[in-house]
């Protein structure tokens, strides 16, 4: 078993870190570079920067933040939000990021996934899936930051993106995210069972039990945390220690 990666997800808008609920709302909670450095020093394994409103404004504009972050923070950095072209990816990687997360563009043009995974390598391409529950064991994929339904079944879509060359999947439960009430276990179980690429689970963590519960009941490979870290409800150290106590391997 791999060590589970504990990842910090940082949503950015206009140079502020924001945190919503159900991917809605722009409440400011801090400054991105400060938070990235803090989490790095506290032992986070990776950072994901999401441009929270790129979908609105047809652009990704995090390069200056990434540029600075990569000078201070020496762990893998993923950047997502509004990535539409090969040049967008090139710019982000040139700024020092390691991976990019793509959602809307992939839904609108699935062949984009194969195109960019050939150019940059699969390991660079994280497919971001925002899932909303429709009925028992059925979820629909949304795009434009949780605004528009795609009509795609999440399980089928996950299988498809793997076959097109995605290196990882970041799976966000729209229903759970921001609520701090726990992960959507069924969703994470269903997706991690049908793909053989790593799955990062995002959305819903409120306490350490939620995380242990997720890892003990699904085969996801990483957990992305936002609210619990940004609102300082939990520390990275205590999360990792509790996981180790629960016999879950993490980097200490």
């Amino acid at each position: 078993m791999n060590k589970i990666r504990i990842i910090s997800r940082i949503d950015v808008k206009n140079d502020f870190v924001i945190k919503g609920i159900h991917l809605e709302g722009l409440r400011k909670v801090g400054k991105p570079n400060e938070m990235a450095i803090k989490y790095y020093q506290d032992g986070i394994d990776e950072i994901i920067f999401m441009d929270a409103v790129a979908a609105y404004y047809d652009r990704n504009s995090l390069t200056h933040i990434i540029d600075q972050a990569c000078k201070d923070v020496f762990i893998p950095i993923t950047v997502g939000g509004g990535i539409r072209t090969i040049l967008d990816i090139q710019n982000i990687l040139n700024a020092g990021a390691d991976k990019v997360a793509i959602n809307t563009k992939a839904i609108k043009a699935p062949n984009f996934i194969s195109e960019v995974s050939k150019v940059f390598g699969s390991q660079c391409i994280v497919l971001s899936i925002d899932a909303k529950k429709k009925s028992h064991n059925k979820w629909e994929a949304y795009f434009d930051n949780g605004r528009e339904p795609s009509g795609l079944d999440v399980i089928e879509w996950a299988k498809k993106v793997e076959s097109l060359g995605a290196g990882e999947i970041m799976l966000t439960s729209i229903d759970a995210e921001g609520t701090k009430k726990g992960f959507d276990i069924d969703l994470n179980k269903a997706v991690s069972e049908v793909v053989s690429i790593p799955v990062i689970s995002s959305g819903g963590a409120g306490n350490e039990e939620h995380i242990s519960n997720l890892l003990n009941n699904t085969s996801v490979d990483a957990v992305a945390l936002a609210s619990v870290l940004h609102y300082e409800l939990l520390s990275i150290g205590s999360i990792k220690q509790k996981l180790v106590n629960n016999k879950i391997k993490v980097r200490m």
């Binding site: 791999n2 020496f74 762990i75 020092g96 940059f120 053989s196 490979d221």
Partner: protein, 217 residues
């Protein structure tokens, strides 16, 4: 002043390497110029992506020949991730492709090494273990605890023909694979030291130190 050349062949996360070198305090240049490379005190070959694509890009700029020539000078060379893989004889990614053959051995998909692998690429922090026959003193691993965590993201791994060159092993899904190599002056890390927090930065720092020592004679 110790001067390090980072090979520029339009592949690889050079910014990360640059940031790391700046952090540990080293002079460097990003280049594909033959005399700059040959005259430097140390060379880093970065790389991310497919083996065949990497090799063809090196050849496009005649960098394959230059690197081999550089290596003959016995000056320190460090290959990271794809950079390490390309030091070897050949890879079976997307059909067989020839590498630089500076170290004899093949690059094989992690899956074929042991069919119980479930998830690929291997994306995770994982421990590198000091081998019994090759101490880490005076290598780029100096000062690290055996079982330091490094960041891995790869689907393929090296199988050196000569076990003596294995500088560290790592276990993934119940199977041990070679996670770094040392053949005289040539080093390779399958993981990304420039992305492996303070332990990784120590490796980068050690490499710079080795380059300096060589320069001082």
């Amino acid at each position: 002043m110790t001067h390090i050349a980072i090979i520029d062949y339009e592949l690889g996360n050079v910014k990360s390497i640059i940031n790391a070198l700046e952090k540990v305090g080293a002079n460097f240049v990003l280049t594909r110029n033959d005399s700059e490379i040959l005259n430097s005190d140390g060379v880093i070959l970065p790389g991310v992506g497919a083996f065949s694509h990497g090799v063809s890009k090196l050849k496009e700029y005649s960098l394959d020949k230059i690197i081999i020539q550089y290596a003959k000078q016995k000056k320190p060379l460090l290959g990271n991730c794809l950079g390490m893989q390309m030091l070897f004889t050949e890879s079976e990614e997307f059909g067989t492709t020839q590498g630089l053959n500076l170290i004899s051995g093949k690059i094989k998909k992690l899956k074929t090494l042991n069919s119980s692998f479930r998830k690929l690429p291997h994306v995770s922090w994982n421990e590198i273990l000091e081998p019994t026959y090759l101490a880490w003193n005076n290598t780029i691993m100096e000062g690290l605890n055996s079982s330091s965590n490094m960041y891995f993201v790869h689907t393929y791994a090296a199988q050196p023909d000569n076990q003596e060159y294995v500088l560290s092993t790592t276990e993934y899904s119940n199977y041990k694979f070679c996670s770094s190599v040392k053949k005289e002056n040539i080093y390779g890390c399958q993981f990304h030291p420039e992305k492996s927090a303070t332990d990784g930065l120590l490796i980068m720092k050690n490499f710079v130190k080795i380059c300096k020592e060589f320069q001082d004679g």
